[in-house]
Symmetry: C2
Subunit: 336 residues, 2 copies
Amino acid sequence: MASKKIGKATVKFTNPPIIAGTGTIVGPMEGRGPLAKDIDVILPDLTFGEKTGERSERKLLEQAAQIAIERSGIDKGMIDYYIAGDLLNQIISASFSARQLAIPFIGVYGACSTCSMGTTLGGMIIDGGFADYVLVACSSHYQTAERQFRYPIELNIQHKATSQYTVTGAGALVLASSGNGPRVTWATTGRVIDLGVKDPYNLGAAMAPAACDTLLRHVADTGCAPDMYDLILTGDLGSLGSQLFAELAKDAGCNVGNNYNDCGLMIFDTKTQRVGSGASGCACAAVVTFGHVLKEMERGNLKKILLIATGALLSPLSFQQGESIPGVGHAIVIEL
Amino acid sequence: MASKKIGKATVKFTNPPIIAGTGTIVGPMEGRGPLAKDIDVILPDLTFGEKTGERSERKLLEQAAQIAIERSGIDKGMIDYYIAGDLLNQIISASFSARQLAIPFIGVYGACSTCSMGTTLGGMIIDGGFADYVLVACSSHYQTAERQFRYPIELNIQHKATSQYTVTGAGALVLASSGNGPRVTWATTGRVIDLGVKDPYNLGAAMAPAACDTLLRHVADTGCAPDMYDLILTGDLGSLGSQLFAELAKDAGCNVGNNYNDCGLMIFDTKTQRVGSGASGCACAAVVTFGHVLKEMERGNLKKILLIATGALLSPLSFQQGESIPGVGHAIVIEL
């Protein structure tokens, strides 16, 4: 029997990977949100000096990675693996940033769940004794996501109340096999769940059941009840999805209380910033967790948190072909 | 220092994962090729009874996974992780098959290098003590790939001499922490290399430098010279790309000899089957390796092989925006 396997697809790290450095960067709208002070770089505009949104997004990812490497205090050449993903077709932001970084590359796709899936893999690679340093990163960009998944922004299509607003930004962290800092102690990998939601303007509802499935499995496997965490975060369920998540969990006998929040409700001021049901995008959970939450841990306000980053695994083509929207949620525990 | 890390991004598995079962399935054209006898299922047509190519491809993946699970002799419920990827936007074949399989899911994107990247990750998860069984799979489909990356087949666009023909098929394997069977003993993860090739009809040339970079790093890290392998396989470089690969390796002082072949030259009869420079697609390296090569090992004709599956990390959009084509190659060693 595998020694670090607890239950099914839950891992207890025996030599927990240390978060040695983080880097976060966002666009101007996120910079006007309530978490701005905890984010490393806030851009004055969405272009980042590039001609296309895709090039801007790639630069966001490279910049976040660069900051995380600098903060970790290690030389880029010491990093064994670069694990990255994004929302774009063929994850071109990640692949092209890997060309620039020249670190052996593992490309992943988990939609907006990428940051916790990447961190889980990075943790396994380090705890398994295969690497000393792993860089994990992901990105999203409002304009590239709108153009690819919905309509070019030039068409000025009206958003719906249940729509979510893609975060422009990137988050990166360097995991290390030794040193000081918060540690990734547990991980629960998500199953793909689909209860038949077909509305691509209501992704929170599509992802909530998967997030709940992962929470229940995590709690059962670890024996750690929801009230034992200072903070439980879902990735980007938004206002509707996070309500559904809490209700589904309650129905299953697992109450999440005041210690529960959703990254999609934190990065923008949802009352004044007109972002529909909240924020989304790979960068949403990454920036909130790698930026804000880890700084709250540094400040001594949080000691142990559970992140369940969530992904909606649709494509424009699967929607056009009448498919429903599968969701997934990957959980990681970070503690001091 | 990490215990199983040799050099940079090369891994020596100390408890090498066992290949407990494989499953392969292909379309009719592959079924007329020289490796047909080693493939588990050959379909009479490309539809597999489905209305769209995308649904057919998903079914190929599910079927290959099913066969691999059956062959491994273990219950589906025992499998801890499902690692899968494909060429389609947002890897919908993999994600939707994960919904069907209901095994905790790690989605990866490495284009045609997916089979060795997934096997490397699966090997790390098992050797790291995180799982007892991991299912790895990938797929491609001629029609879905043509439509997405090039033109709908209904337009009957003429192929170029350097074009490659996407394999319709899927390959899957079950890795186990114990038991009998061939073992995955080493892995070298690739760096993304881009020497400026911009022609999407010549992907072999775009990927050859990355495959060579991985070979050189693998040989340096393991001390295992090319002539110590019974077979060295590249993923899908085709006739032009595999010549370039051999020349680049030779120039770097690393001769690959008669023990070298390319999966893209093996699955079709390139003289009679009109497939341009050869075969490509995630399923190419997967079906050749998980089907033919492992059966050759069973028959006692091969004892130790090196697979460097290769991926071209472009998207139609990156091409339209004038970008060159980054390549990657991931190496695994399989031995009896």
